[in-house]
Symmetry: C2
Subunit: 477 residues, 2 copies
């Protein structure tokens, strides 16, 4: 079996063949990392500036302090607002005039600023992104203006009931764990946010040791490294402002973090709900206990349902078994959930299952939107399908279909340079293990029926959380 490529931090230069491309990485003495994957026939490139800080790193509200929920996302917005040499309009124009696909995103464990551009435009994009990310002035007036924009962004999300359900689901499953918090914060925390606190967050967290620059497509590694160092005003030996020792940050299981409790590093232990510490789980291993039901009443035509429980960490070796199981359970039109809920009964337009994984916790969920009167039936059908999976696993035919689906969809996804650009960054910021397509397909193919039943049984045995958002007055939940 092909091993994943491990990206050791003490190796400043690394080059390795991946199926479909060559991956190279340079670690600068400051800790800054640049990774590229050249795609031979590409005429465009995707580039991302990734910072290893996300909403989970924010300070939660406490009795003696207002907390800073939403400050990472607020900061992401502010980085578009200007540097000493570029105002907001100039930054916007830089991307628009080359027709770049560009944006930024704040996640729970990282923040990313990215652009997809024609090959000839890559150097220019690097210059602007580097300036934005490292030299933002966080102007006070712009701060106030952006507060209004972010409040509108939260208002927009609050009007999207599927979005609301998703936030509630994270809160309900994760409890007080920092991963349970909303990425954007709450309107109250945004209204209370102060420029100096966000500035502190910026100075404290944006640092060469947390910055990872990845690019894929029509990119030349040496040239990109040169441009990056130039744009960041770094000589090959010089260090950008940092008080740290230049050791890059990786988010590894077991490392203490703000607000997180100590973490059990053994992911192979006997499954139980308590295997993910820091979560408020209630009774462990009690799949037959009453599920906890979280209802948000809103006028609506449909009720948005999420049914699930704690899932797997990013590096859980059982993630390959989970992937095959998830494909069969809820990964397409032929999946069991889609067939049982939509095709056989016409109860919903969409029904699927998913996993979300982070360094020290994860969650598993099943989603459907349906008429309020049918909500109880859809919840019951979903539970039964998970239970059936736990008891009887999958058939050989389903297994073959799942492996084909994973192989085909992965191959199609990897044709886009942005997928490869993101894969590099998540590996580098995460465990440092990079699975190329063939290596990961071999892992999926090696999954046994017992492993699939076992992971389903573990999920089915965990306390179930049900989130319903919509006109729940007619739903018997």
């Amino acid at each position: 079996m092909r091993e994943p490529i491990f990206l050791p931090l003490d190796q400043p230069e690394l080059e390795t063949d991946l199926a479909g491309g060559v991956v190279r990485r340079t670690v600068h003495p400051s800790g800054l990392r640049v990774l590229t994957e050249r795609m031979p026939s590409a005429r465009s490139a995707s580039i991302g500036f990734w910072v290893g800080v996300g909403s989970r790193d924010e300070q939660a509200e406490r009795d003696d302090a207002p907390g800073s929920l939403g400050s990472t996302h607020f900061l992401e917005h502010l980085l578009f607002k200007g540097t000493p040499t570029r105002d907001a309009y100039s930054i916007a124009t830089s991307f628009d005039r080359i027709g770049a696909e560009h944006n930024a995103l704040t996640a729970k464990e990282y923040t990313c600023y990215y652009a997809k551009v024609r090959d000839a435009d890559l150097d220019g994009a690097v210059t602007v992104l580097a300036d934005m990310v490292t030299n933002s002035v966080l102007d006070g007036d712009e701060f106030e203006m952006e507060r209004g924009v972010i409040l509108e962004e939260l208002a927009m999300a609050a009007d999207d009931l599927a979005d609301v359900a998703n936030e509630r689901f994270f809160e309900a499953v994760m409890g007080d764990h920092p991963l349970g918090r909303p990425i954007g914060g709450h309107p109250e925390t945004i209204r209370a946010a102060r420029r100096d606190d966000v500035d502190l967050h910026y100075r404290d967290r944006y640092d060469p040791t947390t910055l990872v620059i990845t690019a894929a497509g029509a990119v030349d590694h040496d040239r990109l490294v040169e441009r990056v160092l130039e744009a960041l005003n770094l000589s090959p030996q010089e260090r950008w402002h940092t008080d740290r020792d230049g050791t890059p940050v990786r988010r590894v299981q077991g490392e203490g973090r703000i607000d997180s409790t100590s973490v059990d590093a053994s992911a192979d232990q006997t499954p139980s709900a308590s295997s993910v510490p820091g979560l408020s789980t209630g009774a462990a291993g009690t799949g037959n206990a009453e599920p906890s039901v979280h209802i948000t009443a809103r006028p609506s035509e449909q009720v948005n349902l999420l049914i699930g429980t704690e899932g797997l960490r990013s590096n859980d070796p059982r993630r390959f078994a989970f992937g095959v199981m998830n494909s069969v359970l809820g990964g397409g039109m032929s999946s069991r959930l889609f067939q049982e809920i939509r095709e056989k009964r016409g109860l919903a337009y969409t029904a699927y299952s998913f996993g979300a994984s982070y360094s020290d916790a994860g969650l598993f969920g099943m989603y459907a939107g349906c008429a309020p009167e049918k909500a109880a039936e859809v919840v019951e059908l979903s539970r039964l399908e998970l239970q059936r999976m736990a008891e009887t696993g999958i058939t050989d035919e389903e297994r073959e279909r799942a492996l084909g689906q994973i192989a085909g969809s992965s191959a199609l996804a990897l044709e886009d340079s942005d997928t490869r650009m993101g894969r590099l960054a998540r590996a580098e910021l995460g465990s440092g293990e990079l699975y190329d397509l063939d290596a990961s397909l071999e892992r999926f193919a090696a999954v046994t029926g017992d492993e699939i039943r076992s992971i389903a049984a573990e999920l089915a045995a965990r306390p179930l959380t049900i989130v319903a958002v919509g006109d729940t007055s007619r739903a018997e939940l």
Copy 2:
């Protein structure tokens, strides 16, 4: 200047060089058309079965008949439900087991069934798509089940206030024109739909003369044509069931269609609201008249606003001027609407403008979602920006940026085989004129400042429609 490639219908075999690929077309004696664009380095292909029938072709409700609104979309769903040799599960599995990106969409003037697959999977996808599209059994039980699914799809759309605003905007601007109707129908028409009517729609409308098969990426034209004919059980000379004379259907301005009035073919005439017949316009050329305001009250955090008027037909020669104007007005972060509404005032998270064009009519709109109390201000800002554009046009710098944006974003979009696959089909089903990237960029570059001012002046002079959906009790509209 490079001319567009015209695809004459009396020429059964056609091959032409496009920038970036070779386009070939075969017209079968039955009227069936197959078009391909080979992309040299592609490892995957996108294939679409396009039928030249859309929601505009449905029978509207009348005193003596219930109408068939939503039947085209209902039919699209039913084609996934089975043929004499493939049941619904088998169809779903065919796509899932190769990890295809596949779906179908019903639009106002066409219906499309498509898949993106790895090169080795293309033949298989053709076989299944051909069977689905031409041999559906429209089973009565499946029909009833799918009625529930479609009602849930409509319920989901009804909960999405931006979606609701979009439907209202089409209705309000287009009036009784068939393009003003909702693609999915209404819950009442779906509840009233009868299997035999949808079957009639299928027999009547799905025909070799309305079917266009397009593919792009890793595709060999001759092989594809062979597969298609084999899958459709057609010899190179034989005709698939049709009573027509085998003349392919193109949706051209001036051709009579169900419910549409006669159309003035001169798109170059002096701009006025009455230049798009079939629309209920009110007073023409009265930009200073009171706009017509359409309010849909819903509990919400944001009000979804659409402000606009009639726009351009697909083939309007002024569409290149409109494209440049639209880029400057509302086509990116540096656009005027984004700057004025979001960046300078923090009133909205999103603000943009757009055009939607059809064979004999079109519309132009400006969108923003904002706090109810700010709705009147956002509407006024949008009107003012359109007015300013009409009076003073754009600067040289804006023009350069717009051309760069159009060139860059088009080049990036055309890297995806699905974009090219769709471009072929829209050209073939529309006017038969195919602009490759260079030819269309030359058109954009040739646009003069006067033309931009002129198209903006025309839009600004038309009666304005304002649609607001959300908690409008606090909005002074």
